[in-house]
Symmetry: C2
Subunit: 176 residues, 2 copies
Amino acid sequence: MDITQFVSSSIGQWKSQRSAHHMIFSHFEAVRSAIDIVALTPDNPAVIELCQAYDIDPSQAVVPFQMSWEGESDWNDEVLKGSTILVPIPDPNSPDRGQLLRDRGYAETMAAAARYHITEDGVFVLITEYNRAAAEERIWFVNPNLRFRVSTIKTSDGTGVVTASFSSELRAMATP
Amino acid sequence: MDITQFVSSSIGQWKSQRSAHHMIFSHFEAVRSAIDIVALTPDNPAVIELCQAYDIDPSQAVVPFQMSWEGESDWNDEVLKGSTILVPIPDPNSPDRGQLLRDRGYAETMAAAARYHITEDGVFVLITEYNRAAAEERIWFVNPNLRFRVSTIKTSDGTGVVTASFSSELRAMATP
């Protein structure tokens, strides 16, 4: 599995159930959301702009995409809604790893570059370092219509895991 | 990571938060439990008996252990409580895979033999075939005091995932 196959398999609409474990309080949070993943062309102005913001030649970008989500948590009544553009930049010498540019992180609003690699059994692993925290995501396909995503948020010194979460993402069937 | 290291790292008391996603109903279930994993000696009569029930020479068993759990679900008021003996039987020619004998499965009460392997990045993968279902568990350590466990229950024909669940298991500190 390389990044092109992984992203291609992810394109579409997904119905997500996410459970977050807030470890300090042993609290459970349940989130239901709809996720929409759309392919972008490499010549999309937003993709080129994002590459330039990271000082990367846009010709290095492969399979850029946009991810949008809208959901509800049982933790509070706030509607969770957002959208981000993601641009994979594979390492020239190893196709199973590289950088993932984003115009917005999940946890903070500053631009964040992340490192990804794909394990031999097809798990996409993404590590993002923020100022005060580090996030790790592991995403894999159970079958073509079901993705799992396990995320951890750690303190930046790596000592503690603050939140662990698990999403099951089921492909939403096309309406006729 | 081989099976001996994996089991040795698992010995102890764990405080578990488990979220189950019942996919057909988009239902969330939250379970809190205490898990106790205790090493057994290979000459333990229960270990020898279990090997014999599977027609396996007890000298092939490595790091047998007992796992006990007691917990509560928000799904109903039933107390979840049980205990099982597990006996790894590594394949003679590949130390990262083998059989895991159990005297009781999670999903059914019949004895179940399961196949395990450990991936290059240290994920213990266990696949159990039942009469009407198949279960896959992926367990890995985030750090020495935190284990994650992702379980899926599929229909036996492999077409559908019925339940997906995620456990975060935090080592319970010894009381002074």
